[in-house]
């Protein structure tokens, strides 16, 4: 008799959603971003993303093999690939995927235990190891172009082809020449930049879809974007030479980082108030690095820094359990 009773602790209402399901959903939502990237940058974008996905899968295959089943390694590889410039050498993208998974995830004990976002760990590693390659931005070549010559560069060798078709991203032009770019280009994505970051409008739509499906916590994008919007409006309104708020919101990796990286449930705080602190922190750091730092873009560093602060936020801002007073 007693065996027929379902005995379990709460929660009793469970969804069918499993980790693998969520990962698959996120991977599907990234595919339109990749498609747009192929439209603008050609198949180079596809090769770079595929290299970083392969680089992410290799260590999983060697050591844990869990990430192969639930798709988390593919997701990390995809996210990393989308933050790289389209003209980067494929072996660098592969190495980045490898480092992402090993240093960003496996040494922490696997999925759900890492403190830092794996894709951003890989990107930060590449940024320190290959500062030139990762800041060389090719012109969008159109979907007919098969690859950029710099994609085929080999390790420890000088690239045979001198690439003439590179230039600065809208953010660097803003930073070093003080010139804003056409907002329309930033919405549509026809600018230089990382593979997945240029097309603002698609990222906003995907963010809205993820919010609708409740796959990401609404507080994170809201707090980040609100902070950046308010902060950049203040600067724009008070001083001269600052970018206008729309430009700041849609340039660089802010949208990509806000929708896909900062919202990682593993590396963001648990309590709602903690999440607000986290999001505002990211917004402030993005503005600090972009407006006053030496680098044109700081979304990656802002998110990594707030990831580092997350254990401390979790420690001091606890979820109020039911029945306890504040």
């Amino acid at each position: 008799m007693i065996r027929k009773l379902h005995l379990a602790t709460s929660p009793h209402l469970k969804d069918e959603e499993q980790t693998a399901h969520i990962m698959r959903e996120l991977i599907y939502t990234l595919l339109p971003v990749l498609a747009i990237a192929v439209y603008y940058f050609g198949f180079a974008a596809l090769w770079v993303v595929m290299s970083s996905v392969l680089g992410a899968l290799l260590p999983e295959w060697i050591w844990k093999r869990e990430g192969l089943k639930d798709g988390s390694a593919i997701l990390t590889g995809l996210l990393l690939g989308l933050t790289l410039p389209p003209g980067i050498a494929l072996w660098i993208a592969f190495l980045g995927g490898f480092v992402s998974i090993v240093v960003g995830k496996l040494v922490w004990g696997g999925l759900g235990q890492n403190v830092f976002n794996p894709a951003l760990v890989g990107r930060a590693f590449l940024q320190s190891a290959f500062p030139i390659a990762i800041t060389t931005w090719n012109n969008p070549g159109g979907w007919t172009s098969l690859y950029y010559p710099s994609n085929l560069a080999m390790p420890f060798m000088q690239s045979a082809h001198a690439d003439g078709l590179t230039g600065a991203t809208p953010l660097s032009i803003m930073k070093f020449e003080g010139q804003s770019s056409d907002i329309m280009h930033l919405f549509l994505g026809s600018t230089r930049g990382s593979i997945g970051e240029t097309c603002g409008i698609v990222l906003v739509l995907i963010g809205a879809y993820l919010l609708y499906k409740k796959l990401i916590n609404w507080r994170i994008p809201l707090s980040i974007l609100l902070t950046v919007l308010v902060g950049s409006s203040l600067f724009y309104w008070m001083g001269t030479g600052f970018a206008n708020p729309l430009f700041t919101l849609f340039s660089g990796g802010l949208m990509l980082g806000t929708v896909f990286m900062a919202t990682d449930p593993v590396t963001s705080p648990l309590a709602p108030r903690g999440i607000w602190i986290y999001g505002i922190g990211i917004g402030v750091l993005v503005l600090l690095i972009r407006y006053f730092g030496g680098l044109p873009e700081g979304v990656m560093y802002a998110i990594l820094l707030m990831n580092a602060f997350t254990p401390m936020i979790n420690r001091f801002v606890k979820i109020r359990t039911y029945g306890h007073k504040k």
Binding site: G109, V121, F292, A308
Partner: protein, 192 residues
């Protein structure tokens, strides 16, 4: 005033002693297993650094012009005696803190971060106020680094870390990632 703010922020974030210069790594790895102790060591660090800044200014101003070859040794003696002073004061004022810091207060005596502070601030030709602000920034930066690493390390105790990286290896990896994140501050407030 602008200059002082810049000195502070530069020492706190851009040229963080621990995460950018890699000075004072022994307490960084040794005392960061608990957030509480890490924070206290950080405070002790700030205190010693401020005293060091004052003493090194005095030495640099009145003693070293006559005997430049005594620079290193006199700095070390100043640091050692100032740490002794902190230790005695702590023993009297806060026995709990004294017990919590234990072996690590004398360790600060031979801490490269503190000798580094004395050398950097005299090399940069800082005056008295600048030196103290620099010490506050540097101490704050060291505290920030200690506290950040300690919080992450406390979290890792709950994790299923593979044996191969358990312990110092993982701590160094965490420190490396935090250090990479701090590279984002490079060039802060210099290109405005």
């Amino acid at each position: 005033m602008d200059n002082l703010i810049w000195i502070f922020i530069s020492a706190l974030l851009v040229n963080n002693f621990t995460l950018t210069y890699f000075l004072g790594l022994c307490p960084f790895l040794g005392v960061t297993s608990r957030l509480e102790t890490a924070f206290r060591l950080g405070l002790a660090n700030i205190f010693v650094m401020v005293i060091t800044a004052i003493c090194s200014y005095a030495l640099n101003e009145w003693v070293l012009p006559f005997a430049p070859f005594l620079r290193l040794i006199s700095f070390i003696i100043v640091i050692a005696s100032s740490v002794q002073f902190v230790e005695m004061a702590l023993k009297k004022l806060s026995p709990d803190l004294f017990r919590a810091l234990g072996i690590y207060l004398p360790l600060i005596t031979t801490n490269c971060a503190i000798l580094g502070l004395a050398l950097f601030s005299t090399n940069k030709g800082y005056g008295f106020t600048e030196g103290v602000v620099y010490a506050l920034g540097a101490g704050g930066g060291v505290t920030l680094a200690l506290v950040l690493l300690a919080a992450v390390r406390e979290e890792t105790r709950l994790l299923d870390i593979p044996d191969i990286v358990k312990g110092t290896a993982l701590n160094l990896i965490i420190a490396g990632i935090i250090s990479m994140a701090f590279m984002g501050f490079a060039g802060l407030f210099t290109t405005v």
